[in-house]
Amino acid sequence: MNGAPVLPALLGRFAWEDLPFVRFWQQPSLSEGIAAAAAALVIVGAVALVLVLTRYRLWGTLWRDWLTSLDHKKIGIMYIVIAFVMMARAVIEAVLMRVQQASAIDAPGVLSPDHFAQLFSTHGSIMIFFMAMPFITGLINYIMPLQIGARDMAFPWMNSVALWLTGGGAVLMMISLVVGKFSTGGWTGYPPYTGLAFSPDVGPDYWIWAVTLGSIGSTLGGINIACTIYKLRCPGMSLMRMQLFCWTSLCTAILMIFAMPPLTVATALLALDRYLGFHMFTGDLGGNMMNYANLFWLFGHPEVYILILPAFGIYSEVVSTFSGKRLYGYTSLVIATMAIAVLSFTVWVHHFFTMGQSAKLNAIFGIATMTIGVPTGVKIYDWIWTMFRGEVRFTVPMLYALAFMMTFTLGGLSGIILAIPPLDYLFHNTLFLVAHFHNMLIPGLLYGLLAGYHYWFPKAFGFRLNETWGRIAFVCWVVGFYLAFMPLYILGASGMARRTAQIFEPDFRPWLYVALAGAFVVLAALAALIVQLWVSIRDRRETAVWAGDPWDGRGLEWATSSPPPEYNFAMPPRVDGPYPFYDGKHDGPAIAPPDHYEPIDVPRPSALGPLIGIAALITAFGLVWHAWWMAIAGLVAVIGAVIARSVVRNVERTLSADAVEAIDRHWRDTVKATPAVTRALETSVANRGVSATAAEAAA
């Protein structure tokens, strides 16, 4: 892949061989063919998108109403769209990896080793940085301000900048499919392998800059979320009256603020090594590669709790709602959440027990790690006791919550095994570890995201998702997960290393086949989700719930229409108890109409957010290809845009009191006119978003 650079002054180190089509042309092989097809897919997809947008004249709407919007709800949805697109790619890569391992037993398999290495690197990086992170940031963005009765985030413009930096990183990941290649160093990117001496190509540079854009976006997002929760709660909403999802959002935001910097330091220092010849992590001249592992995991461990805490918040909402009952042990859930957040900074060494430090040091960190099991277990029991003496409804989100509690416990216990250093010496770097973390990430994080998706989808779009297809997807998820990942525990315990492109042990064959089958079942689950979305959109009139409250919800997010108006609440709600909306529904006016209406200021759209994203993307791309003029131009544009924003004065638009009143009254009339349904009819077409109270249900 070392052709002569084309126009080096303009394009840096780009050579024709950096295009997969050219490589495929020169040396046709299945592996190169797949790479070329993937690149073609990206290009065709992008072109098709442009054509569709042009054909239906959607550019204007898209730009005005979405891309430049500072509305936290739209930003939330765009985050989730990014997550969805990136997920599609990462899933295909996951299935390809399973195919490779099942086909490469004493045989070369379908992929070249280098291609396989790019797959696990992109799959891991995308799933963590561009699927999970945007997904949870998006959900928090959408739901949390509604739950605390706020009108928007604390810094709407910064919210947009954070979104577009993440978007820029995601696009950079996609570009790496078309020009050049991606890193082969895994999502952890350990030097010296990713250093200049061993990986002189553009791969690690793509990884560094994509991750950097994503992590700057996450830091800004974390600041925004934390500040919103601290400063924008509606009157009467004390911290201890917040929904649990807000608590987990707060703790996640704090983790983002303090745990992203170590990643930034690690990648920045690696970049200094690669670009300016520093010796931070090289093997020679006094470099210290162990410090990279140290820095990376100072980030990496808190990161897994950044991912899981919001999921815990979602489960808390879902279990309480669908058990028709208050959460058991609110206070201990809050304490457990905070304990997990703080403890997560004290255990990072368990990711490199095998580096050679003293036994006592390992033991201390092993014990600290196991301690996290206690607050986690408390949470699981709190959910169990929430079902206790409740009335459990087995809707799709609740099914995910139940499957989560049982499966996540197994994964947690495999985590405890890894926390015991002598056992970790055996399982580190094997598929046992891979099984552990997928066992946390899929039944923990992903089921949580799916539960939240089913639960809040009607909030965001005004209609419910199809229940039958949801159940089909659920069954596939559970079956697929067990089939795909339980075999990896066994293979790991048999000593099979992770990141292996070829297998020379025939005894591993049956398990690799089972895992492959599981991957296909999981793929079917994804297909079922897509069918479900399509069916639900088709039937959206029958399942419309504009009145707002399809699940007999508890938090304030249900105390407004679905979807909510731009400003969320005509008047900020006043809260005088822990369950203002739910108790209001039962004992008094759920959401009393305000005695008067006031004009409302909402943030005006700003083009600077997407422009900063594009400029940052250009900077990153220029840096990857050593096209310095491009990098500098992008950077100057970013700085210019920030300065320009500080000069802009007219940042808000005022909605008149009359307009607010008209919308609000229309909604209130609709609620009055809509027949209330009991929980028995919850999933039927009768459910139009008004819930009968228990008293009515009994009558």
Partner: protein
Amino acid sequence: MPLPLLLGGCAALSHGFLNAAGPVADNQRHLFALVAVVLAFIAAPVLLLVPLIGWHYRRANRHHAYRPKWTFSWGLEGLIWVPPLLLVVLLSVLLWRATVRDDPYRPLADGRGAVARPLVVQAIALDWKWLFVYPDARIAAVDQLAIPVGRPVRLDLTSATVMQSMLIPRLGGQIYAMPAMRTQLNLRADHAGIYRGANVQYNGNGFARQSFEVLALSPAEYAAWLARVRRGAQPLDAGAWAKLARRQVAPAPSFYVATPPGLFHRVMQDAR
């Protein structure tokens, strides 16, 4: 589960630490069993309570209490915090003892429990192969590690390339090998046999093929092995070293004599 699969699974596991062939892996196997029992007790309540409570309190079931405002009980609270905490304390004791006992740096006794001078082997990680230097015998082997059964072995590890990690599942342990640094792994084989060892830290295209065989030999066979190597092998001179340092997979084990004294330290120095 179909029978062939089950058998296949056992076949797979026989390559791992559950089929331990030395004291370290054996310790780890015992520890694993013990921990598994404790964890089974931790898992059981959750695995039972979730389906039982979920099902019993289902909405369709009219025969249960419904207390939507019940949110707290000190008794339950104690039950969910204290026993897990005690279990963690118990596990911590286990963990501490086992970690200190199984420190890869800790020298091992010989098969009969007597203190013995370990066989020192220096392992140099290369792309994509392992070079095992026997400093006393002044021989070296690529991708083959022969050790006498019953005698403790001390591996000194370093790397002439990127970070790698050595794992021999049936003997135990795992430790990183890093340029300019030296780590240690103490092992012993108690049964004669051929075991698989590998680098398990990804290091490039040849990674999947960077494994080696461990020959655990009786003392007589070991002596014969040494003699065989001495007889048939080429000297490890500059030319041979240059060939080894290339980023290539070794197609088959190869052997060297006349290894330069202090080779291992030179490799460490050169990396600096």
